[in-house]
Amino acid sequence: MGNFSRKVERFLEVFINAGGYVRVLEGLKNTLLIAVLGLVIGLAIGTLIATVRVLPKYKRLPRVLNGFCSFYVELFRGTPMVVQLLVFYYVLLPLIGVKMTSVAVSVVVFGLNSAAYISEIMRSGIQSVDPGQMEGGRSVGLSYANTMLRIVIPQAIKNILPTLGNEFIALIKETSVVSFVGATDLYVAFNYIGSNSYEFMVPYLVMAILYILMVLIISLLVKWMERSLRKSDRGR
């Protein structure tokens, strides 16, 4: 046990005096930034894709768009996130000659990747909404897009909120791959502490605890949101 407390001391030493906490904070910031922005971008693009995929298909344009969207979804769900990240950073960006920070690239890739997953979640969410809701909207002269946006999608989001919460948690966990393109995440931060204290037990333990804490907080947040959204269901 005395051994363990020495390890803790060494950890704290590097964490506090050798700038470890700065990196941990930066890692935490990047992790949250990439996951949150990734989710927001994913929600926006994913909803758009889902809407295209549930469009009535007797005209040509929706069919073409639908084909494109299902290709997109297959592409992003069919390859690992690390591969997408590496291809974006080391292949695509140099090819088109654009410079982006590794965090920015991570945000974009996480957004595009989660869009693919969220579009499928959202599609089943939209399909779970009573078709009568769309008919009600159309019957009073609202357009398809308007009814979708104001009536169907809000109800779909409510239905899929727990699944979206899981997607967010998955994103948080997946951020541990952004170090592949040089972004500082929690892994990089704690690895730094480990290398400088020649002691990896405590840093990785603390890292694990931090991840668990984040996931717990998000789960609670999702539960709370669910409850407050369910107020329109009272008495059902």
Binding site: S139, V140, G141, L142
Partner: protein, 264 residues
């Protein structure tokens, strides 16, 4: 006001409507009866192109709604529809349910007017701000709720209402658009018996106010009471039509006689 010319509708291989011709006059109350599966709902839903007709024309004030180039949303603003299962917006309060469409469509119209006004400066029309549009819609919605005795439910969600209350709200949601005609598809079929009366009461009042109405119903007593004309549909055609008296007291076609003997 509405003229249906040789309307047919097929779902895949199944031809549900086999050539409907129908003219509905301003202020007329037309009640549609007929056995289950005869195509009553389908015909009604074709009237506002909720179902796209397979062939034929739906002329509404001379505009062919079946024409893909017609702005169907704009036309539907003036054609109210009430569904068997209410179809209130579950994520909106009663008040929001009633206000939503008037506010959204009014904003759209104002945008158009503003654009027109810019083009020829003489156009002298009243342009409302968004706040004014909302205030008016709210005032109108509240007075409609007052009319059906549900003013105290303005902030309730549909799930907190009884079936009868939902249907009454659904009716005034349509009325908030100031429609020229109202379509009803079995408005009381999904209701518990003790709630049928309150809904029929609202429809009856509406009939008295001179609204043009097309009502699909299994309530024969009500049909007889409000109808100017009754249509009997069977297997995708209008087999017989006439005044309630003609249809209920002196039915001609054996199919109609058989149908009436079952339901009366």
């Amino acid at each position: 006001m509405i003229e249906v010319v040789n309307l047919t509708k097929s779902f895949g291989d199944l031809q549900v409507l086999k050539g409907i011709d129908l003219t509905i006059e301003q202020g007329e109350k037309v009640v549609v009866i007929g056995p289950s599966g005869s195509g009553k709902s389908t015909m009604l839903r074709c009237l506002n192109c909720m179902e796209d007709p397979t062939s034929g024309q739906i002329l509404y004030h001379g505009v062919n709604l079946a024409d893909m180039h017609v702005d169907i949303n704009e036309q539907r603003e003036k054609i109210g529809m009430v569904f068997q299962h209410f179809n209130l917006f579950n994520n909106k309060t009663v008040l929001e349910n009633i206000m939503l469409a008037p506010v959204v469509t009014q904003k759209k119209h104002m945008k158009k007017l503003r654009r027109q006004q810019k083009q020829n400066k003489s156009a002298d029309v009243e342009i409302l701000t968004n706040a004014q549009i909302k205030a008016r819609a709210k005032e109108n919605a509240l007075s409609l709720l007052e009319r059906i005795g549900l003013a105290d439910k303005a902030d309730a969600y549909p799930s907190q209402l009884s079936g009868g209350q939902k249907q009454r709200v659904a009716i005034v949601r349509s009325l908030a658009m100031h429609p020229d005609v109202m379509l009803f598809d079995e408005p009381t079929s999904a209701l518990d018996p003790e709630m049928v009366g309150e809904v029929l009461e609202v429809i009856r009042d509406l009939a008295k106010s001179g609204m043009t109405m097309v009502i699909v119903t299994h309530e024969m007593g009500f049909a007889r009471e409000v109808a100017d004309r009754v249509l009997f549909m069977d297997e995708g055609i209008i087999l017989e039509q006439g005044t309630p008296q003609e249809i209920f007291e002196n039915p001609q076609h054996p199919r109609l006689q058989e149908f009436l003997s079952k339901v009366l």
